[in-house]
Amino acid sequence: MGGEMGKIFTLVEHRRGQIHDISFELLTKGRDLAAQLNSEVVALVLGHGTEEVVERVKGEAHQVLWVKGESLKEPNAEAYQIVLSHILKEYNPFLTLIGHTALGMDLAPPLAASLDIPLATDCVGIELEDKRVITIRQPYNGKLNARVSFADAPAFMITLRQGSFPSEEGNLTGKVVDIPSPLEKEPDYRRFVEYIEAAVGEVDITQADVIIAVGRGIKEKENLALLEDLADSLGGVLACSRPIVDEGWLSKDRQVGSSGKTVKPKLYMAIGISGAFQHITGMKNADTIVAINKDPNAPIFNVAHYGIVDDLFKVVPVLKKKILELKG
């Protein structure tokens, strides 16, 4: 199948010295695909002061391509694009895997376009079927799966959804190859200025044992009071999915999900939350998950332990009453 050597390239994503979890998911999937293709997986590390990153991923790939440069200190999609398009043109791998993260969403589409190769984004599965690459995606808010095929091309790029692929320890001894950076300085048309830390709010939801999380299904801001009552009856705190913060009904520090907080309470109640993957990423490890939603096919029921398929406005007041009764 096309591409010189049919290698699998994976981008190691890291920021401020921390390697993003997705990097190991990409490497694990990369090794799986390389084994099926009788090929090799190559880790790409770009950055400045990345010795520890390289040390950590060496065992995960057959080869590590290492590009160093001060202009790559912060992951800047436009700078990464210049370096990666240079490398990918030279090495011509069969598949390039990138995380569907804030960086990957900024980087992969223009990179694939500049290389003139097909790209499938936000994939939750990759299959090799009869020498063809098929990806699985989840359109329509995760309510359906789609099998997506590529047009004929010598190389393909895929971005992978975080948390959808296993992450296993590799036992390879990757050869580290230094690649001189083709980038002398950060592109002047897009310059990194600074990081802005998340604001600290009145309640730290990551410390709560019981979280009552609300989503779009609550319809009006006024209905929050109903959920606050339920939270009080359980001694819990109110949290939410993204649309509630977008509406300005709750502050950003109450948001659970990939762009908000990751929580692991004893009880997580998802009320009127359909369960977009960005939300599920932030709460799937709670001990007990309960979902109330009127759509029986809402993806939230795939991670919940208990579910009630009903109108939340009917259930919540009764539930509060039953809890208070049992508490005595």
Binding site: R15, A113, N141, R190
Partner: protein, 257 residues
């Protein structure tokens, strides 16, 4: 400041039951309501806010069937100055790249300082059109943008990373920003404005007019299917009285109450 905003009309799927049609490649749309894509609505609002602050024009572009003119008109009612609909007739299936290619051919002859798009369509979820379009037009971009401050020839933008962290960037104009939801408070159009917008002209362009007979289709949906049912929740049966009672008992048995 001349701003182009790319908008898409999408079915509302967050709270609806979604079923596959007989082709196996698309969904049944008869019972769904359609509206402007959520993040596109924020992009539109941002464009109008920037215009109100700095003057200039807002041009809407949407690729789609005649029905999407309702969505375009609502944008005109909110404050956009002009609109183009690129008819999708004859294009067949479109993916993220093909849509970006159509938009590139439509926009390249316009004069603009800024292009705004949403950061993701809630139907296909590609998150691909904005940054691909920027590449095809040869202008810088940023996605997941939550703040735009315009300076002379430059924009200082903030974009969302993970876990509540943001990064600030300085980007040269003209540029494309894919806007994240929550950046502003999208307005509602007044009835008078809606009535006035009904009479405005929407320029309709076809494949020939934009010089692109066949957009490049690089990915193809083979089929749609319900997600495999994993360890699904135990669904509590009965009315509110029964389900609530049962749930309270479960909480009691787990020591939560």
């Amino acid at each position: 400041m001349d701003i182009v905003v790319c908008i898409k009309r999408v079915p509302e799927t967050a709270e609806a039951e979604i079923k596959v049609d007989s082709s196996g490649k698309d969904i049944l749309k008869e019972r769904l309501t359609f509206d402007i894509n959520e993040s596109d609505n924020y992009a539109l609002e941002e464009a109008i806010l920037l215009k109100e602050k700095r003057g200039g024009t807002v041009t809407l572009i949407s690729v789609g069937p005649p029905e999407c003119e309702d969505t375009i008109r609502m944008g005109l009612a909110k404050g956009a100055d002009q609109a183009i609909r690129v008819s999708n007739e004859g294009f067949g299936e479109l993916d993220g790249f093909a849509t970006a290619e159509i938009l590139k051919n439509t926009i390249q002859d316009l004069s603009y300082d800024l292009i705004l798009t949403g950061c993701m369509a809630t139907d296909d979820g590609y998150s691909q059109v904005g940054p691909t379009l920027a590449e095809l037009l040869g202008i810088p971009h940023a996605v997941l943008v939550t703040k735009v401050d315009l300076q002379d020839g430059n924009a200082r933008v903030e974009r969302e990373l993970e876990g509540g962290l943001l990064e600030a960037l300085e980007i040269k104009l003209p540029a494309l920003f894919a806007i994240q939801t929550g950046i502003n408070e999208p307005r509602y159009a007044s009835l008078i404005a809606i009535r006035r917008a009904a009479a405005k002209e929407i320029k309709v362009l076809n494949a020939q007019a934009i010089g692109l007979e066949r957009p490049t289709l690089r990915t193809r949906v083979e089929n749609l299917f319900p997600p495999p049912v994993g360890k699904r929740a135990e669904i509590l049966k009965g009315g509110a009285e029964e389900t609530s009672k049962r749930l309270a008992q479960i909480y009691k048995s787990k020591g939560i109450i």
